[in-house]
Symmetry: C2
Subunit: 340 residues, 2 copies
């Protein structure tokens, strides 16, 4: 099969890879209908994370089940499935508490690489969620979004305790931040402040439910959020970047007793204990337990109540993956969908 | 009146101070029945925090209302009252959300100094909670504990989401940690792991409801908590010290998706973002909004359902405050009660 590898920073290539097969009897092999490039793929692409190339890439996926191991009970060949970027048994105590991304037996899908034609998915029964039937082509981008960026933005909104009557601010205007806006809106937030300097992203944020746009960053952005919230700060803030600046912006934009939901993968962040202590905020985040939300998200997409697939503003054949990475790196695209 | 000042690290003195009077019409002046030395008073006493002496000391208090300002509506002279270490209006949006310690108009009582015979309490209606009547002498230590250490331990337990079926670990065996044990027990926790190396404190922890004692610290302590919890970590951990070591011990002893309630005043703490991200814990804490809990805590004490006053293992006249500080500094006493 064909699949993407990153040889070194900036060097994306589509190569022949071995066809995946069932290894553990709890595995499924899926044929990918669509996959995509993640904001987190840009960290190694930009050389900010080490690359030990050639490294397989990709952890977002939707597709058709081709084959299952002997111990797979609920997933069957022919089903259209959505899964998360961590395989999980969905039965251990941590999974049952809703933290499937930290499952006792979790397997990171990034090590398998789903920017490819086929993929082996471990712990198929616990990981994959079938859709009610084969989806219409128009639903595929939104189902793919559920695999990570929607599920991650949703977790950020849940961790920020978005809900009726709440004012929620969102730091970061990438796909996750934008879908954090959509999640906050769907969860009933009254006012949603999107922090973005890019006009096209501001427009999409508004389409997803943002009521206010703050173009300022850093201290000026914090000041603006406080002005918009009677000097108190937002009830909840979704942090969807993962840098020191964005984390401090999120914490300082949250009122005392409010909630920061942080889902940007943390890079060189150090939180000052004293400031955190006196901020009196709740801090929760990490790798989103997307599996917890998948049934609900698939339902919302299937019934066309939400259209998160709009974050894909570029769709390319898998063979053109290199251009897909470049477009995101140069911020010409919010998110690139790849068709295997 | 007489009152405690700290002239320089280690130099506690009882001096003549001006009698307090009503300044703002929302003030009350109280005559202290009892006051005490806080673990946080030891930071400047030990020179870890700067001292600009002579500095007034003390922020815990119970006593009789002597006089109130013209705008005080609910508090009346003659009432026995308990208050917190932050005065709060108890009407602003932050107070109504239960974060009175971060009230928009909060006043730190530490700047007023309650290790004294009288004290001016700002925002009396919002800050002070009267007891049902004049308390029996035997209840005074427990009511005084509610003013800070019980309220703070209680907040730690609430932030750690202590409740039925939960395993809660407690880092720190000072008065706050010990009362965190009592709070977790009262809130229904099934298993309470107290981390302590001191035999007398271990005994009091057990008396307050600890089911397990872990004497190991650092990595060995974390390992022991994980062993006791099937490799997962505790559901919730109360952090009641405020150092880098204790914070990391708390975070690493908590299972993914669990809750760290941190109430030790933070000193030179820096939390590594990457580790925090992948821990997937909830982090919440800060200066405890004791006012939120005071009515419930007074009720529990008044009905003799809890006896938090046991943390006072030394009681001295106010004039002997220096010895009270010394005994705590040398860990001869858990907590010193002072009688003005």
């Amino acid at each position: 099969m064909r699949g993407v590898v990153l040889n070194a920073p900036g060097d994306v290539q589509v190569v022949d890879r071995e066809d995946p097969v069932v290894v553990e009897q709890t595995d499924a092999v899926i044929r990918l209908t669509a996959t995509c490039v993640c904001g987190s793929d840009l960290w190694p692409y930009r050389g900010i994370e080490d690359v030990h190339g050639p490294a397989v890439m990709g952890h977002e996926y939707v597709g058709i089940v081709e084959e299952v191991g002997a111990e797979v009970r609920t997933i069957r060949p022919g089903q259209f499935v959505v899964g998360s970027f961590f395989a999980s048994d969905n039965t251990c105590e941590i999974c049952r508490a809703g933290y499937q991304s930290r499952c006792f037996h979790s397997v990171p899908i990034g090590g398998i690489g789903t920017q490819s034609q086929y993929a082996r998915i471990p712990l198929a029964d616990g990981t994959l969620v079938p859709t009610p039937g084969l989806p219409d082509e128009s639903l595929v981008p939104s189902l793919l979004a559920a695999s990570d960026v929607l599920g991650t933005g949703w977790f950020g909104a849940v961790a920020a305790e978005a809900g009726p009557g709440k004012t929620i601010a969102v730091v970061g205007d990438g796909a996750v931040g934008l879908l954090g806006v959509l999640a906050a809106k769907t969860l009933g937030a009254k006012r949603i402040i999107a922090m973005s300097r890019h006009e096209s992203r501001q427009r999409l944020a508004e389409e997803f439910g943002a009521t206010d746009i703050v173009a300022e960053r850093g201290d000026a952005g914090i000041e603006r959020v406080r002005e918009l919230t009677g000097g108190l700060g937002a009830h909840g803030v979704i942090e969807a970047v993962g840098t020191q600046e964005s984390m401090m912006q999120a914490i300082r934009s949250t009122r005392a007793g409010g909630h920061v939901g942080y889902v940007g993968v943390s890079h060189d962040v150090n939180l000052p204990g004293n400031e955190l202590f006196f901020s009196a905020v709740h801090l929760h985040g990490g790798p989103a337990p997307v599996r917890r939300f998948l049934p609900e998200l698939i339902d919302l997409v299937w019934n066309r109540q939400i259209d998160p697939g709009k974050v894909f503003d570029l769709a390319l054949p898998l063979e053109d993956a290199a251009e897909g990475y470049r477009a995101m790196d140069e911020r010409r695209a919010i998110k690139t969908l790849l068709r295997p």
